[in-house]
């Protein structure tokens, strides 16, 4: 586990905690949003909030692809899985997410529908190759880290001449989501959510690079530090953000130099650009409709687009009224502010997506924090 354990060293973490206390000015507060759900879990798993002074607070962002997928889109996947001729291939994270009318992909599977968990899009393509009499649909979700793999699968299917493979594309974009948070009334006008700076996601940025963050660092005057996912990475990035804020700078800095370059992964970006294009708008759970924030399949590859092949229509759904996922995703509420958190809604019986996903804030609180919060 080289290059993993070294970044989890407890003594260095102790030193970084001292450094954070030394750098944080007692006369001001620091509200730092970790965009990515992977960071949220690292923060809680390693008890980082306990190592921070009271005036440095972590705000949890919407960077959990499972959490931000609207129920309507999941309903469409369930509708697809319900067809006799379809094998639906999905990443494991999506199976237990509650859809409308208490459905889920796991339930569909229990009812005999062919829903298969895949670890990569290659597996979905192989399922299509091996089942020529079935229609195989890849339920593609995720941020930029997961998008190039979808693009590759489409191109692969074209090369192999597979006409029984298609993709239900739900890919979303990180920079648009961050901008939507900064534009939201809660942040801009109401002051309900304070975000002074961002911990940027490192794995998304291996693909897109650090350059796309430069616009809003400048435009909204908020520093961004691209942070690795290990605890020392997170703490070092907190130091870098505090220093920027103290010095009045709003720049994009890269703590994860071992994996991220300014220009990102050119080959992966080209693959995505050839295959997918921006949707004029995409509805996010919690953030609502965000312009140019999602991707769809280009018309040149239209025959691999499941939405066209099966005439899928997005239907309006009503969210569970008690579930506070949308507010949690926006950072307006903490999981513990939700009435059903930890009582009705638990990882075993999740009501909202934030409790299901390994990256959801509610799941992180439940796993690592519920005893601490209870006092």
């Amino acid at each position: 586990m080289r290059y993993i354990h070294g970044f989890r060293d407890g003594k260095a973490a102790g030193a970084l905690a001292k450094l954070i206390k030394r750098e944080a000015r007692p006369d001001r507060r620091y509200h730092l949003m970790e965009f990515c759900g992977g960071h949220t879990h690292a923060v809680f798993r390693y008890g980082i909030p306990d190592l921070l002074p009271d005036n440095v607070e972590m705000v949890h962002g919407p960077g959990c692809p499972v959490c931000v997928l609207p129920v309507a889109r999941l309903d469409m996947a369930i509708e697809l899985a319900g067809r006799e001729d379809v094998i639906l291939a999905s990443y494991g994270d999506m199976l237990r997410v509650p859809a409308s009318r208490r459905n889920s992909l796991l339930k569909s599977r229990g009812q005999g529908k062919d829903v298969r968990v895949v670890q990569s899009t290659v597996e979905a393509v192989n399922i299509a190759r091996d089942n020529p009499d079935k229609q195989v649909v890849m339920f593609a979700i995720g941020f930029e880290t997961t998008t190039p793999q979808t693009a590759l699968a489409i191109q692969q299917a074209e090369k192999m001449g597979l006409d029984n493979f298609s993709v239900f594309c739900n890919h979303v974009l990180t920079p648009s989501a961050i901008q939507s948070i900064l534009d939201s009334p809660e942040v801009r006008d109401l002051g309900q959510v304070r975000v002074d700076g961002f911990l940027g996601p490192s794995h998304v940025s291996t693909i897109i690079g650090s350059e796309p963050y430069e616009f809003f660092a400048q435009e909204y005057q908020r520093p961004v530090v691209i942070a690795g996912f290990e605890p020392l990475d997170v703490m070092a990035s907190i130091v870098m953000l505090i220093r920027q804020l103290n010095e009045g700078r709003a720049e994009v800095e890269n703590q994860f130099k071992r994996g991220v370059q300014r220009e990102g992964n050119a080959k992966a970006k080209a693959l995505v650009a050839e295959t997918l294009e921006l949707r004029p708008e995409f509805a996010w759970r919690g953030l609502g409709t965000v312009p140019y924030s999602g991707l769809r399949i280009k018309s040149r590859f239209a025959r691999f687009d499941a939405e066209k092949r099966f005439d899928l229509v997005e239907r309006e759904v009503r969210e569970n009224k008690a579930c506070q996922c949308p507010a949690v995703i926006r950072g307006v509420k903490k999981p513990t502010d939700c009435e059903i958190f930890g009582t009705v809604c638990t990882p075993r019986n999740p009501i909202g997506s934030c409790m299901v996903s390994d990256e959801g804030a509610c799941a992180a609180y439940y796993r690592y924090r519920r005893y601490a919060e209870a006092g």
Partner: protein, 85 residues
């Protein structure tokens, strides 16, 4: 979902495939998204694909910086207590 881990490249195969190792576990992944990978490199792997090469020089520099911090600031105790669910 976006979590990815550094893996050691053990063997290269045809069609951009490679065998990688993490903590004793071996798996076959695709190198279709990156160029110039050699045996002995580290790559960061996400859903079956290497998404970037790990820059070993930068990684070592970060680790050296953390060691230096631990020595100069002198934290004596282990501050991290990973919680297991």
């Amino acid at each position: 979902m976006c979590l990815a881990i550094p893996a050691y490249v053990e063997e290269l195969h045809d069609f951009d495939q490679a065998t990688v190792e993490v903590g004793g576990v071996r798996s076959k992944i695709s190198l279709a998204m990156i160029d110039d990978v050699k045996v002995g490199d580290y790559v960061i792997v996400h859903v079956g694909y290497a998404i970037t090469k790990l820059n070993v020089k930068e990684a070592e520099e970060s680790l050296a910086l953390f060691r230096e911090l631990a020595e100069t600031i002198g934290a004596s105790t282990d501050a991290l207590h990973p919680r297991v669910s």
